[in-house]
Symmetry: C2
Subunit: 312 residues, 2 copies
């Protein structure tokens, strides 16, 4: 960057997303000053040890003083309380944003708490790993991943542009949509996959006829692909469920119907229908690889034999 | 290897598994001679071009002549017909095996076709990738993966030991269990994960309110993890469904119940129950990594930004 996008950035919460933002902001000079706050003293100490920011604050309000851009990086369920806490400290014209995987409920929780003089522009970087906490972050997390902005009607265009420039500086591609549509899109692309992964891991853990050690031993047959998602942060996912309830229930119902249809095909030996279903999904992976959202390495590039990767 | 395990190996079918076996057998000298057969002339030509074996046969029976070990590497649904075809060509004492993901039905299909003078020892290497065909194979596919033998009651011990030595030579760890238990274990560790992955890809493809391009764009939120399994060979998975029907239907029913329980937790805002469920599954991934069945790289080692892998 030739020039920082904002002078003073405040990060409220410094887990996987917050600490990745701190790292990339520092590395690429997207902001002049990074003020970090965490409600956990231990996490704040760790952020200081890792030298993630320029100043460290036990109080979220303190961190927001004089900030041009405040990004709330806490679990969705805590975002309303954080908004209430920081509201009095926000300077006029400050941009307030978040990183939540759910938007409509977060807007409903945060917006009423924030002063009219601040610009509230919700955002969601569609990026993450199965790890949590300040140590889990890395500067490249957002590279070539999409960040979705959901500016409310009548949002200040300049504020939206500044936030977009900030995320572009962090490596993201930018997209805008309304909060409700965001929640539908993410329900199918992210929330349902996580819930299904958690559920199938639970089903496997509950077998009486197959031991846990057998599940683990033979997981290379497919099961282990689900366990990455099912190792994600439980607090985050509890909050996602509770805050995107309607869209998630709708999608889960559709998914359950599709599972029923598949059960029926299997019960009635409908090999042609099964073959058709198994054929149409192949194209989706190809499209995802072509769109640069997946690496084209066999078997996720897992080592087969020592550390060597299979050539293709 | 100092000494080949068998003199003459016949591979009937030369897709991902067959061609990987051919490669590792050649590379590590597990057999003296590799006879390859495919019912597709095109595939057989490709195997010849890739120099996967020592002789190439349009007829499966021809390939089996004088073979000490015959491994049938065809989709499960074709295994009975192949057994019938090769039976007259088998020399006394020949070992016949397979690589099918389903065992009880394969045994029922193959065993009656084979002569008493041959030793039929079914096997299943729990290894694979999302790619198919002779080009997709690689010699390291079986390294540190489990191969499950399901010898029938009264099986010749020497024949079982020879087959085990062959697979050990190919890099596998060996396990023995009966065919019915195998089918239960694989239903939960492999078949259900694949079916769920296919199903969720289908659900996503069928949305009216979310476009296909949105699903692809934002797949990094979790969806893309399912697409690897859903890109697997449709013929293979149709045959698995039709040949392990009872175990699959039982497991799918359990999974559907667990999805219903989760829907209920979400509908009634039971955050504690959701949190508990999302917590217990984390340990499973750790165990799989500790057991050497998963690589401990963040986000499947996917590149975040250029070709660099995130450090941890």
């Amino acid at each position: 960057m030739e020039k920082p996008v904002v002078k003073r950035l405040a990060l409220i919460g410094i887990g996987l997303i917050g600490s990745s933002l701190a790292r990339v902001t520092k590395q690429r000079g997207v902001a002049d000053h990074i003020a970090i706050s965490s409600r956990s003293a231990e996490t704040l100490d760790r952020a200081r040890e890792l030298q993630l920011g320029d100043s460290y604050h036990a109080s979220a309000a303190d961190a927001c003083k004089d900030a041009d851009l405040v990004i709330v990086c806490v679990p969705v369920g805590a975002s309303g309380a954080v908004a209430r806490e920081i509201a009095p400290a926000l300077k006029p014209g400050a941009i307030v944003s978040d990183v939540g995987s759910v938007k409509a409920e977060v807007v409903a929780a945060m917006a009423p708490e924030l002063p009219e003089t601040a610009h509230f522009i919700p955002a969601h970087p569609v990026a993450g790993t199965e790890h949590s906490g300040p140590d889990a972050g890395f500067a490249e997390l957002f590279d070539n991943r999409w960040c979705i902005l959901t500016p409310p009607e009548g949002a200040d265009r300049e504020a939206v542009d500044t936030l977009a420039a900030f995320w572009r500086g962090a490596g993201s591609n930018l997209e805008e949509m309304d909060a409700t549509h965001h929640d539908l899109v993410l329900a199918i692309t992210s929330h349902i996959p996580h819930l299904v992964a958690y559920s199938i891991c639970g089903t496997a853990a509950d077998m009486e006829t197959v031991t846990q050690s057998e599940v683990i031993k033979f997981s290379a047959g497919g099961f282990r692909d689900f366990t990455r998602l099912a190792a994600s942060d439980p607090t985050m996912w509890r909050d996602v469920c509770l805050n995107n309830r309607d869209a998630i229930l709708e999608m889960l119902a559709r998914f359950a119907e599709d599972i029923s249809a598949m059960q029926r095909m299997i019960r009635w030996n409908d090999g042609d229908a099964l073959f058709d279903m198994f054929t149409r999904t192949r194209a989706i992976r190809r499209s995802i690889i072509d769109a640069g959202q997946e690496a084209d390495v066999v078997d996720f590039g897992r080592p087969h034999g020592g550390d060597s990767l299979p050539g293709e």
